[in-house]
């Protein structure tokens, strides 16, 4: 969840860039210059995006294992890899976990990010300092962050349980990462913590773009508090909200490091997702064909959301 604003910015500039004026004389040279300018970007896209995607697609139809790297042979096996990963007992659990993890994370991140954005939108002392502090989860390397959370959520000596018991909220320690019933919730909570800065930053900047006059005019018509939020803030924020949600979904679907750092998919597969399963098959079991099949399934799911996102943003541009 790090470089999303760049993506969002790129897509809007691409859509709104004016077409350059043309002149008859030397038009061909100008065309060549244009093509030459496009070529580096085109080659980069083909090399860095096109090739891996195509390779991943072909790999998923091959028996691509350790041996392939030494012999160069990867026999075509049709849909066998897909059949294998889908029929695995863990698959349905991983699919359900992926959905729960994504939905839970997005709701948590978005609601908290929105509340914080509204809070920081008001003027008060130390506003900037506090807002900067909220960006911290974003600045900490994820592996370091999860290692810290693993210690905090430790059942016997973790500070979270100690604090909750000391305050009297809990009678017995919560097995945050060691119970199959709780582990997924814990992983979601950590991911929410990690996703708040992204939501906060984008929503906050969205709020700042809403002209103050709208609120002044609304106030005259009696729209204050909740009413102002529903009738002024929310409609004006819609574009930002859709970007935040769609990108959030796409980035959450593929989360891997947080889960590996916290539980490695355990206990007893309770936190396996499609992403961790794909990683497990590719880089632990070295069955790259099966890993590719799983990641293609994940790409397909992301693609659905990407299309929804693109359509939503196009409609806004049309408006």
């Amino acid at each position: 969840m790090s470089d999303t604003p760049v993506l969002a910015a790129a897509s809007t500039t691409a859509a709104t860039a004016p077409s350059p004026p043309r002149r008859r004389g030397g038009r061909r040279r100008e065309q060549i210059a244009k093509v030459l300018f496009v070529v580096p970007a085109g080659l980069t896209i083909v090399a860095l995006f096109g090739y891996p995607v195509i390779k991943n697609l072909t790999m998923s139809f091959q028996e691509y294992t350790l041996r392939t790297f030494f012999t160069g042979k990867a026999p075509f096996v049709g849909l066998a890899n897909y059949a294998e990963v889908v029929s695995d007992d863990v698959f349905s659990k991983a699919l359900a976990n992926t959905a729960l993890f994504t939905i839970g994370s997005i709701i948590g991140q978005f609601v908290l990010g929105m509340l914080l954005a509204l809070f920081f939108h008001k003027n008060f002392p130390l506003n900037g300092v506090l807002r900067a502090l909220f960006l911290l989860p974003w600045l900490i390397p994820i592996i370091a962050g999860t290692a810290a959370w693993r210690a905090l959520l430790e059942q016997d000596s973790g500070i979270v349980n100690l604090a909750l018991e000391r305050v009297g909220i809990l009678d017995s320690p919560v097995p945050w990462l060691t119970s199959p019933d709780v582990a997924l919730v814990s992983v979601i909570l950590v991911n929410i913590w990690l996703g708040i800065p992204f939501n906060l930053t984008l929503l906050y900047s969205g709020l700042q773009d809403i002209p103050e006059e709208l609120y002044e005019a609304g106030e005259l018509d009696g729209a204050t508090g909740w009413k102002a939020f529903w009738h002024i803030t929310w409609p004006n924020l819609r574009a930002v909200v859709s970007v935040v949600l769609m990108l959030g979904v796409i980035y959450t679907l593929k989360v891997l490091d947080i889960i590996l750092g916290l539980t490695q998919g355990g206990p007893a597969n309770a936190t396996q997702t499609i992403a961790t399963q794909s990683y497990q098959r590719s880089f632990v079991e070295f069955k790259f064909g099966e890993g590719a099949a799983l990641s293609n399934i994940l790409i397909l799911i992301s693609l659905v959301f990407a299309i929804v996102y693109l359509r939503a943003t196009r409609r806004q541009v049309d408006e």
Binding site: P20, P21, R23, G26, R29, E30, I32, A33, L36, F37, V39, P40, L43, L66, R67, F69, F70, T71, G72, D89, R150, E154, Q155, D156, S157, P175, L177, T178, S179, P180, T263, Q264, G265, G266, P267, A268, N269, A270, F283, V284, E285, F286
Partner: protein, 415 residues
């Protein structure tokens, strides 16, 4: 922008061309690495070595030993590279597909057969090397399809570490049977301290830690649904259910287990000799005992750990021959002793056992264990990883109460 001067347009074209140049250059750069393999020069003046000893003092010690061996076999330069353990295989795969494999490759013993199966390693018999006088475990791990692919200078295994002060205070002896283990662990458990600690994570490390009870009880990786394996699962479950082992064990790596032991939060632990330097540094008064047995007549069996040196097939015959010499040199009596002392290992040559026990008495508990230590891949070979996954999944199902010991392995996918 409407009337663009010709000069400016030319500049633009030039700029676009300039932007393309690095792409073209880098495309050329990739091509010329292949040519070196075909030369068959008789004199070898350098060898590349890849291992995962990234941390000091291990990295420097291994490097020094390699350089010395290089001098012995007449190779001027040993290019010693280390990558982090978890990425070693991925690195080797990349090198294999780009034909840049190192001349000598270190592999963790359970990985050897998987890599040998791909045809990437040269049989050491081709260079007149054999493993005569070595303990059985390391040889089994390095043998694929009847051929020897690696020589392992030092081995480690798992044993029970106990805090002597704590046991003395409680008036108990280190356990020799499973019943004693349960009783002792329970007796040593207080508000602030668990009696025992082990690692039961959902990975190969968790599977490796389950092998001492499984194998000691007569369980076998070829038949995970046996009552013997269920018995071992029951032991792990009892220890956790009785509160003698923290429920967090299912999320503790071996390093976490060691931290708990050092912090005084566990009176005993299942761990390996690589933890000894940190225990000494923390001034813990510890003892080492082999893993207890369940019923009379059983022998304690622990899994074999440690790394072997192998010779990848690089295509350069002269270098491969020298690489084999280097592997042999790393396994001389003298070098096995040195490596063992430096790395907290046990020499794999059985003849060195007594001398080693005399010189390094604190490792005595591990010397006998290594002599009988069993290789994870000894029976299943390249199929081991799949079975290991079943083992750790079954273990986690039991410890989280989702399956009974008797049918956990079946539920985890054991056939």
């Amino acid at each position: 922008m409407t009337a663009m001067p010709t000069l400016r347009r030319r500049l633009l074209t030039a700029a676009a061309l300039a932007a393309l140049t690095p792409l073209a250059l880098s495309a050329c750069g990739g091509g010329d690495s292949d040519s070196s393999g075909s030369e068959t020069t008789e004199t070898v003046d350098s060898l590349t070595v890849l291992d995962y000893y990234t941390e000091d003092p291990g990295h420097t010690q291994t490097g020094d030993q390699l350089t010395k061996c290089g001098t012995t076999i007449g190779v001027a330069k040993i290019d010693h590279q280390s990558v982090p353990g978890p990425t070693l295989i991925q690195n080797v795969l990349q090198q294999a597909s780009s034909q840049t494999l190192p001349d000598v490759l270190m592999l963790d013993n359970p990985d050897i057969q998987q890599i040998a199966e791909t045809g990437a390693l040269a049989p050491l018999e081709d260079y007149d090397l054999n493993a005569e006088g070595f303990a059985e475990g390391p040889v089994a791990a390095a043998t694929y399809d009847g051929k020897l692919y690696g020589l392992q200078p030092g081995a480690n295994t798992l044993a029970i570490f106990y805090n002597k002060d704590v046991l003395e205070k409680a008036g108990v002896e280190p356990p020799k049977t499973w019943d004693e283990l349960k009783a002792t662990a329970k007796k040593l458990t207080t508000d602030k301290q668990y009696g025992f600690a082990f690692n039961a994570t959902a990975d190969y490390e968790g599977a490796w830690q389950f092998l001492p009870p499984m194998w000691t009880n007569g369980g076998d990786e070829t038949n995970l649904k046996s009552p013997e394996v269920a018995g071992a699962l029951q032991l792990w479950k009892d220890l956790v259910d009785e509160g003698s082992v923290s429920k967090s064990a299912i999320n503790w790596k071996q390093s976490d287990v060691n931290d708990q032991f050092i912090a005084g939060k566990a009176a005993m632990m299942l761990n390996g000799p690589w933890q000894i330097p940190s225990l000494d540094k923390a001034k813990i008064n510890y003892g080492v005992a082999t893993f207890p047995i369940n019923t009379a007549g059983q022998t304690s069996v622990a899994p074999l750990g440690g790394e072997a040196w192998t010779v990848p097939v690089t295509g350069n015959e002269a270098k491969m021959a020298k690489a084999a010499e280097l592997v042999a040199c790393m396994n001389t009596d003298e070098n096995q002793m040195l490596r063992a002392k430096q790395g907290g290992l046990v020499p794999t040559k059985l003849a060195l056992a007594d001398q080693y026990k005399a010189e390094v008495p604190e490792m005595a508990g591990f010397v006998d264990a290594v002599a009988t230590a069993r290789a994870r891949t000894g029976k299943l070979g390249a199929k081991w990883p799949e079975t290991a996954k079943t083992i750790y999944t079954g273990m986690q199902l039991v410890l989280t109460g989702q399956a009974a010991p008797a049918d956990a392995m079946a539920k985890a996918g054991a056939s």
